[in-house]
């Protein structure tokens, strides 16, 4: 897991914590970006609800968004 995923990333992976149930699919698809905390919820060290996505991981991030069983993920362009 990289300590600081791309500071200049153009995409943000937003986690809706009210929807997230820590099913773990996103952490399998994006192991470089997301780990799991001790209760199984996704965690990106140094980031909270908006995780910068390096360009090379954008397709995987899109897949994670599409496969999240709780629809808890969304991708946004960074302002």
């Amino acid at each position: 897991m990289t300590a600081r995923p791309a500071a200049n990333a153009r995409l943000l992976l937003h986690i809706d914590w009210t929807a997230c149930d820590g099913r773990g699919l996103c952490t399998e698809i994006l192991p470089e970006l997301l780990g799991r905390d001790e209760w199984g919820y996704p965690i990106a060290p140094g980031h909270g609800s908006d995780v910068p996505v390096p360009d090379r991981l954008a397709p995987a991030a899109e897949e994670a968004v599409a496969l999240c069983p709780r629809l808890a993920l969304s991708l946004r362009r960074r302002d």
């Binding site: 937003h14 986690i15 809706d16 914590w17 009210t18 929807a19 997230c20 149930d21 820590g22 905390d37 209760w39 199984g40 919820y41 965690i43 980031h47 909270g48 609800s49 969304s74 946004r76």
Partner: protein, 411 residues
């Protein structure tokens, strides 16, 4: 361009000194008009310019410039052709705060003036006042006294810690559970029913009512450049006369505690900003209650909450009880908060109860870091801030607990 303050022509002398919001003699409408003068006609561009010049920041805790939120809702409403929603927020979920309740009882008409002024500026489609059940009778009486306030919809707030968070307020107004929502766009863009929604704290609205009457220059004549005007603070804890005070912005913490009858020499610290705030130790009592001077302690004025702690009381016992309360006040929506806050409170509790495991403080810190930023509102962040501040400011007490030699009062 004409000078900003030109539009303001008060017909009644502006309140002098630091009693402004609290300068009215009685809460009735007649007294209100006699004390503060007629309802200001200053709206739209004029009001926005005046607010911008005044430097007024939101008094609900986030300290966002008051004019900017209004401007954002106005711009959005115009570009989308959707009429805005204006909400006066008096939901003080914070048990240490009672300034909004006090304000609604003492000067409900200032709040109503502010609400109506902002609503006119935004050409709002609906106006709501959201506050605790106990405040509503006073407001209902005030609304009945004046013909211009019929459009204001009075709504009781839930008695939970997070009920006053802006998106929780919007949820409540929409008839849903009063819990925060996950938001990717601002409420001023799309809030209640997708309309641009402005949620202002009631003290902010009352300040707006005064600025609309007496102008930005008058507002800035008290306080400091970075914290102009007056603000309401709630002082509690180990002081002789706890309660709500109106103080000049940037007042020294020591002076403020003195106003509430505290013997500052007998205090170990004061909690600033409420249960989501941070401790300022006695050595910092010379600091002003202002952003830049509170920053070194990790504290912020927030909603103007101070709780004094007597040096004889064990801070860890108190902090553990507060952390336990905050853990119980999770809205139950976000996994890291639901699980992390009780875990963190439990470890702090063990430390407070005399468990001498030397790894406990590090475990508290780890859990605090783990929950920070991982919720849809700031409840986990605020709780972590409070707990971390406790460990830092009361490092000696932590050492005493781990050494089994804390001699303070644990009740």
């Amino acid at each position: 361009m004409s000078p900003v303050t030109q539009a303001v022509r008060p017909t009644v002398a502006a309140p002098a000194g630091t009693a402004r919001l609290t300068s009215g003699r009685a809460p009735g409408f007649g007294s209100h008009l006699a004390d503060f003068g007629p309802i200001p006609s200053l709206v739209a561009e004029g009001l926005l310019e005046e607010l911008r010049a005044s430097g007024l920041e939101g008094r609900g805790g986030a300290a966002f410039p008051a004019w900017r939120k209004i401007e954002a809702a106005r711009a959005r409403g115009r570009s989308r052709g959707r009429r805005a929603v204006v909400v006066g927020n008096a939901a003080e979920g914070e048990p240490l705060s009672s300034k909004d309740l006090t304000l609604l009882r003492m000067a409900p008409h200032l709040v109503i003036d502010g609400l109506l002024g902002v609503a006119t500026t935004l050409d709002a489609g609906s106006i709501h006042l959201y506050g605790p059940e106990s405040a509503l009778p006073a407001v209902a009486r005030a609304l009945a006294e004046r013909p211009d306030a019929r459009a204001i919809d009075l709504r009781p707030s839930a008695e939970t810690f997070v009920s006053g968070e802006a998106s929780a307020v919007v949820s409540a107004l929409a008839g849903r559970r009063p819990v925060p929502q996950d938001r990717t766009v601002r409420l001023t863009e799309a809030g209640l029913n997708g309309r641009p929604t402005l949620v202002h704290n009631v003290e902010t609205l009352a300040q707006i009512a005064l600025i609309a009457r007496f102008g930005a220059a008058w507002f800035r004549s008290v306080g400091t450049a970075t914290d102009p005007g007056t603000r309401l603070v709630t002082v509690s804890g180990d002081v002789a006369s706890p309660g709500v005070l109106e103080i000049a912005g940037g007042t020294r913490i020591g002076d403020l505690l003195g106003f509430a009858g505290a013997d500052t020499a007998a205090l170990s610290a004061v909690l600033v900003g409420g249960y989501h705030g941070a401790w300022v130790p006695a050595a910092g009592f010379s600091a002003n209650l202002a952003r830049e001077q509170l920053a070194p302690f990790g504290a912020a004025v927030g909603a103007g909450i101070l709780m004094a702690l007597d040096a004889r009381r064990c801070p860890l016992t108190l902090a553990s009880s507060i952390a336990g309360y905050l853990a119980g006040e999770t809205a139950g929506q976000c996994g890291p908060c639901v699980n992390g806050l009780p875990a963190m409170a439990e470890v702090l509790h063990r430390l407070a109860r005399g468990d001498r495991n030397a790894g406990l403080p590090a475990e508290v810190r780890r859990l605090a870091e783990l929950v920070t930023g991982r919720g849809s509102c700031h409840h986990p962040d605020g709780t972590a801030r409070f707990v971390l501040s406790t460990l830092t400011v009361f490092a000696e007490d932590v050492a005493a607990h781990l050494g089994g030699r804390c001699a303070k009062d644990h009740s």
